[in-house]
Amino acid sequence: MKNKAIVCRCEDITLEDVEKAIDEGYTDLEELRKKLRIGMGPCQGRVCIQIIMKILEKKTGKKVSRRDLPTSRPPIVPVSLGTLASDEK
């Protein structure tokens, strides 16, 4: 179980997955996201991005700018298509 620390719960991405991708050269937070789908699940990275940022900083020795954090997208929290399609206020 040593390397089975889950860092992205939405997409089941482990610490090992993240470290491997960084070793393969995915040292940009956005590229890591697109490679691993971190932050693309229902939480949009609220759980994982801060952790992944720290792992990335630790491994590369470079500070990740807050400006480089992935953008949160509407509707921010999951909303059913039926609700969005409804005319009711």
Partner: protein, 382 residues
């Protein structure tokens, strides 16, 4: 930074990285400049579809040949690009659309494509969750060898393979100028240094216009903002991409189970603003649940903006023009850059390495707008 290169590519999307691979594989010394990160432009916002059903012969040919390359790409690049042949189902809503569909299918079949016209019952055989009445369809065209691949994985796989072949990729490096001498490209200047080269490829997507301006070439492209959404992951329900030219909608279920789709809205205009809109969410949800009512229980997770680099005839601009030697165009894909990339990269590489010209390259040259030899691509969605 390297001081010299055979070819400099501007843009780290699927076409930039695909070109880097194709050229480096043929022993060219290649440098790629990407001002942000790889896939940060249209590639990263793309709907992942691969379609061969077009109204123009050129696009159909490019797409058929691209699918043949896509089929071998995972093996060739050594990384899985998640290619799936789920097909494209294009809804037909009225007699006029049926006539155009019949014309398209005849042309597509003459090029060897397997494509059929389906009746309403057959639509449900392909995609059971569709409400044929709700979508007002009288039929559909269906090509089973159309499909999807993962644009991120494809781009990264191209980039990794290009690097193994000796290409150098600089991300977060912006091209700020291109020097020419006697109408010949001589140097590319970035915010981090300059590289001498005789060939530069403009694969900068919606920013290609600005790159072309650096050598004094005016291109007729306009950036059109588009919105696209994704739902939560679901069990597999359907494999085809469903599209309608009339409603503008497209949607499909991806490998991981999420449904991805987009639709045009009135707020969609020319410009580089990326703010997503509420009206997209509402309009998309309304049309999608009209097409597939069962999806009303499904959650939308996110929606985002991307850009189509749109030309006056909705077809790409490729190749060199006489104005500036060594300046190669690879832009104006009008929303179809991912699906056409394998063959575009091959044709341009053959042109650069072997000076090989082709009928398709000739007809997609920038010069077509001067001579007004344009045939508009009708089959555009989103």
């Amino acid at each position: 930074m390297k001081s010299r290169a055979d070819v400099v590519i501007v843009g780290g999307g699927v076409n930039g990285c695909g070109l880097a691979y194709n050229l480096a594989k043929r022993d060219m010394d290649v440098v790629v400049f990407e001002r942000d990160y790889l896939t940060s432009g249209a590639t990263g916002a793309c709907g992942a579809g691969i379609r061969q059903q077009w109204s123009t012969r050129d696009n159909t040919l490019l797409a058929i040949d691209s699918v043949k390359i896509f089929e071998k790409l995972s093996k060739e690049l050594g990384e899985d690009i998640d290619l799936r042949h789920g097909g494209y189902l294009i809804a037909i809503h009225d007699d006029k659309e049926m006539q155009q569909a019949e014309k398209n299918v005849e042309m597509q079949r003459s090029l060897g494509l397997k494509v059929d016209i389906l009746n309403p019952q057959e639509i449900n055989d392909v995609v059971p969750i569709l409400d044929v009445k709700g979508m007002n369809a009288i039929g559909a065209t269906f090509c089973p060898t159309d499909g999807h691949a993962n644009p991120f994985k494809t781009t990264f796989a191209y980039a990794n393979a290009a690097k193994r072949c000796g290409a150098t990729i600089y991300t977060h490096t912006e091209v700020v100028g291109i020097k020419t001498q006697k109408k010949q490209v001589t140097e590319v200047v970035t915010n981090k240094g300059a590289v001498k080269t005789n060939i530069v490829i403009n694969a900068a997507g919606v920013w290609s216009k600005d790159i072309a301006k650096m050598v004094g070439i005016k291109v007729p492209n306009v950036p059109i903002r588009k919105e696209i959404m994704v739902t939560e992951r679901l069990e597999p329900m359907f494999e085809a991409m469903v599209i309608s030219f009339k409603d503008g909608i497209y949607f499909s279920q991806q490998k991981e189970g999420q449904i991805i789709g987009g639709i045009p809205i009135p707020e969609q205009k020319v410009g580089y603003k990326t703010m997503p809109t509420v009206s997209f969410m509402q309009h998309m949800a309304r049309v999608l649940t009209r097409y597939a009512p069962v999806l009303k229980h499904v959650n939308m997770l996110r929606h985002w903006t991307g850009f189509y680099d749109v030309t006056p005839d909705a077809r790409p601009i490729l190749g060199e023009t006489k104005d500036v030697k060594g300046f190669i165009h690879c832009h104006g894909f009008s929303g179809h850059g991912f699906m056409l990339s394998p063959m575009v990269c091959k044709l341009l590489s053959d042109f650069i390495v072997d000076d090989k010209k082709s009928e398709v390259l000739e007809s997609l040259s920038l010069d077509r707008f001067k001579d007004k030899r344009i045939e508009h691509e009708m089959s555009v969605v989103g």
